[in-house]
């Protein structure tokens, strides 16, 4: 039953959908004709200073804007039913719209100041959205999110500082000219760190699973397709600059490890949204690693297709969570394919697309990535971790499918699972359509000629071997009984290392603040409440009070004594100065 009768959801859905259609039209026109438009609006020009706002529209930004507006329009429509019992739905929708605005500003900006505006806006609004449910866990998650993103903001601010050496903040003009400059070296380092914080690569990856404390539409929009891909987008834009730099290799190393680590950790997780968050993290690592190997357009392709099916996956997870009476634990779910066929259809298709099953949308991008990795010569570790992570992806995907859809229903004896929420279903069908077709559609548009890949037979089938292995393992693991799962405690150190994301959340939160909080406690006890009280607070007051009490002894006397003291004083003065 719909309690909120407001029109803001409908209006924003139509507006964003219309915006998407405009962007689609212009994208097709631009990419077919090879156009790229650069708008400049001079706000103030005064003597030699001018403030200019510039907008760059080429096919990449139009395509990304189309995808962002499509996903956000669908998510807003979805949240009309999901966030139905929310009292302040207007506030929520306005926050989502501001988020979309910041993202659009980030996408279309060719200069660093408007990138900073969009970047900071993204960080701030994602903080507001993560703490939307006001409880302690959301507060902690929001703090972790905001502070990790803040590091990226600081890095971009410093890049702005350094780019001022060149005279303008329009970075796209300087790529061809200043490649080997020392300043560009520093700028590239900072840009890479900024992108790493936003896209949650290895040192900063603890915020993404924690940010699942946000409402599910927010996760669908923010943590699957837009916020976390902002870092990848920034690196794609800066790609010409970064391609020869040393830190790109470091980025390769870290992103491959991210991919691997999150794949392992997702296998130990039992929270539905955390599994999906870790799979997002794994795919982000994949995007970053193929970008750092030198293929920005493939990374962009994977970014877009991943956005489609990951948003769909989050929305299905939202439907399931609603039906399970807000339980997110996967062990309580099961057999849902029998009860909610349409939702499980969407869930299945998005999961299989994530695995890279042929001719769904994820296949085009993922398979292309793996074939490029095999075709070009990279070192053994890159090769092994890529294929291993692909296998791990299939592993946790099939584990998830088994837990949620195939095993027995574990919640309660009496249950009411319904699939008739047509608002949510309609929004999921839009994404389902796109998730099926976007792979081929994008590959026809983006790549004007296909990549030439020539591989030996077994290497070509390596993907399939790894996927089958992963699926068998996923099937077996989900059938493990509780007594077998308990045997993991025998290797407690190893399993907690692998499960808890290689201890990075602990390092980011407790590890950083422990020393300082201890030290500040020592300082507070010893100085603030210790010595400085003696020497300036209560101590001086006691001294003065004692003096005053001592003086009072002289004051409270007989009158004769006063007169006598005067005479004594006169005599002292007389004698002292006379003799």
């Amino acid at each position: 039953m719909l309690k909120n009768n407001n029109l803001i959801c409908f209006n924003s859905f139509f507006f964003l959908f219309f915006f998407m259609l405009i962007n689609f039209f212009f994208f097709v026109y631009f990419i077919m004709n090879g156009l790229s438009v650069f708008f400049e609006w001079e706000i103030i020009s005064f003597n030699s200073m001018s403030i200019v706002m510039s907008i760059l529209l080429d096919w990449m930004s139009l395509l990304f804007m189309m995808f962002v507006s499509l996903i956000s329009s669908v998510v807003i429509f979805y949240s009309k039913s999901y966030m139905n019992s929310e009292l302040n739905l207007n506030r929520f929708i306005i926050l989502v719209l501001m988020f979309v605005f910041s993202m659009v500003l980030l996408i279309i900006s060719p200069n660093l100041i408007s990138i900073l505006l969009g970047w900071d806006g993204l960080g701030l609004i994602s903080y507001c959205l993560v703490i939307y449910y006001q409880n302690l866990k959301s507060y902690n998650a929001g703090m972790l999110t905001a502070l990790s993103n803040r590091i990226g903001d600081v890095m971009i601010l410093m890049v702005i500082c350094w780019v001022m050496n060149y005279g303008s903040w329009n970075y796209i003009f300087y790529f061809d000219f200043m490649k080997n400059d020392y300043v560009m070296f520093i700028i590239s380092f900072m840009i890479i760190i900024a992108a790493m914080t936003k896209s949650a690569q290895i040192p900063f990856s603890s915020w993404l699973p924690a940010a699942m404390a946000a409402p599910t539409p927010v996760s669908a929009l923010v943590h699957s397709s837009t916020l976390v891909t902002a870092g990848v987008y920034l690196l794609i834009r800066f790609n010409y600059l970064l391609i020869d730099m040393f830190f790109f290799k470091v980025l390769l190393f870290l992103s491959i490890l991210t991919m691997f680590m999150s794949g392992i950790s997702a296998n130990y997780e039992f929270d539905l949204k955390k599994i999906i968050a870790l799979s997002t993290l794994s795919q982000l690592g994949l995007m970053m690693s193929i970008l750092s190997l030198g293929f920005p357009d493939i990374a962009f392709f994977h970014l877009l297709t991943h956005a489609m099916f990951k948003a769909l996956l989050f929305m299905c997870a939202g439907v399931i969570i609603h039906m399970m009476n807000d339980i997110q634990d996967v062990r309580y779910m099961g057999g849902l394919s029998l009860y909610i066929p349409l939702t499980s259809l969407c869930l299945n298709i998005s999961n299989l697309s994530l695995c890279g099953i042929p001719f769904l949308s994820g296949f085009y991008s993922k398979d292309l990535i793996l074939e490029m990795v095999s075709f070009n010569s990279f070192n053994l570790m890159v090769f092994i971790l890529f294929y291993l992570s692909t296998g791990l992806t299939v592993f946790y995907t099939f584990r998830l499918i088994m837990y949620v859809m195939i095993n027995d229903f574990n919640l309660m004896m009496i249950y009411n699972l319904y699939d008739e929420d047509y608002i949510m279903l309609n929004s999921m069908f839009v994404l389902l359509f796109m998730s099926l077709l976007s792979g081929s559609f994008l590959s026809w548009f983006i790549f004007s000629y296909p990549y030439m890949i020539y591989l030996p037979f077994n290497l070509k089938l390596m993907v399939i071997y790894v996927s089958i292995l992963g699926s068998i393992l996923g099937f077996m693991v989900s059938n493990m009984g509780i007594y077998s799962l308990n045997k993991l405690l025998l290797s407690y150190n190893l399993s907690s290392f692998l499960c808890l994301m290689w201890f990075m959340p602990n390092l980011s939160t407790y590890g950083l603040s422990y020393i300082y909080l201890n030290f500040s406690q020592i300082l507070f006890k010893n100085i603030d409440m210790g010595w400085s009280e003696i020497y300036s607070g209560k101590g001086i007051f006691n001294i003065l009070k004692n003096y005053s009490v001592f003086y009072n002894i002289y004051q409270m006397n007989n009158f004769k004594i006063y007169l006598f003291s005067f005479i004594l004083w006169f005599m002292i003065l007389f004698i002292f100065f006379f003799i």
Partner: protein, 334 residues
């Protein structure tokens, strides 16, 4: 025998005596003025129906006469040893000491809080303001700089430390008066104009405070807390106390500022330090009073009726003057 006409008569003679004292040609005339001052003040403060005020007037008489005797004696020694300049130092010291005793300044101040405790508010006002004029001006005629600086330091310290332990409002104002005497003696050494300026502002502030306490009939600190006064009265109290302590936007900061300016230009650094630190202690115990009375909300006692409707304009005017006079005074010099 407590008629207003009696008081008017003696008050007139009191004013006249100060004028005699400060405008006389010779030291003898000064002494005469001081004596008439003493003699005309005694009937003002003695009230034969109240034993405490009799005792107070007796104490006042004794100390002031001792000081006058000393003063007269030193004048005579000065006249008799006219050509002997070696004695200048000691004679100036003795004359300054006797004048300091007249005023109630530091080593000779023990009578001052005692007597102040025995007088009513209006008599206190006369004691703290008018009675200081002629000794100060006589001090400015013949002072010994080294001796006076030592006395100033003693004044400041005793004024600040003595007041920490007081709960009676009269004694509190007495110790703050001793402290301000230190500032005033130093301003005499700078220039007489500056002393006049400081003195006028000081007497204005003291008059505002004493009129407030007089109208509310308050003699002790706890009377400030028990009543739940009107907000404007509390505000006026706050502003006046802070102004008396010398806090910047208020009126009392201006003379202290000029004195500190002079001190720093002429490199009296240690003295500046003592001035500052004792001011801090004084402001501490002012704030201790007004913090409790201004910030907290006390119960309203129904048998104390504090209707101040007739006198609100005076209170508002005094608050306005205290706050704005520093800024408005800059317009005078534009």
């Amino acid at each position: 025998m407590n008629n207003n006409s009696n008081k008017m008569f003696f008050l007139f003679i009191l004013f006249f005596s100060t004028l005699i004292s400060i405008s006389s040609n010779s030291w003898f005339g000064c002494w005469i003025g001081l004596e008439i001052n003493l003699l005309s003040f005694i009937p003002l403060i003695s009230n034969s129906k109240n034993l405490l005020s009799v005792e107070t007037s007796l104490k006042y008489f004794l100390t002031q006469s001792l000081a006058s005797i000393n003063f007269l004696f030193m004048i005579l020694i000065k006249f008799s040893l006219l050509k002997n300049f070696n004695m200048n130092n000691i004679i100036s010291i003795m004359m300054n000491s006797s004048l300091l005793m007249k005023m109630g300044s530091a080593p000779f101040h023990f009578w001052f809080p005692n007597i102040v405790e025995g007088l009513s508010w209006m008599n206190n006002f006369m004691l703290m303001t008018w009675q200081k004029i002629s000794p100060m001006i006589l001090l400015s005629y013949y002072f010994n700089k080294n001796f006076l600086i030592f006395m100033i330091i003693t004044n400041l310290i005793i004024g600040s430390l003595g007041g920490l332990n007081q709960t009676s409002l009269r004694k509190l104002l007495a110790f703050s008066s001793i402290n301000n005497l230190g500032w005033m003696i130093f301003s005499i050494m700078i220039s007489e104009n500056l002393w006049l300026f400081y003195f006028l502002i000081y007497s204005m502030m003291i008059s505002m405070m004493i009129s407030l306490f007089f109208l509310m009939n308050m003699y002790f600190m706890n009377q400030l807390f028990i009543n739940n006064m009107n907000f404007f009265i509390k505000l006026n109290l706050l502003i006046n106390f802070l102004s008396l302590g010398g806090l910047p936007p208020f009126m009392g900061f201006m003379p202290k500022w000029i004195i500190i300016n002079f001190l720093l230009i002429n490199k009296f650094y240690f003295l500046t330090f003592i001035f500052m630190m004792t001011s801090l202690i004084i402001i501490y115990y002012y704030i201790r009073i007004i913090y409790s009375s201004f910030m907290f909300n006390y119960f309203k006692m129904k048998w104390v009726n504090l209707l101040m409707k007739n006198n609100m304009s005076l209170i508002n005017l005094s608050s306005f003057i205290s706050i704005s006079s520093m800024i408005l005074s800059t317009f005078i010099f534009m």
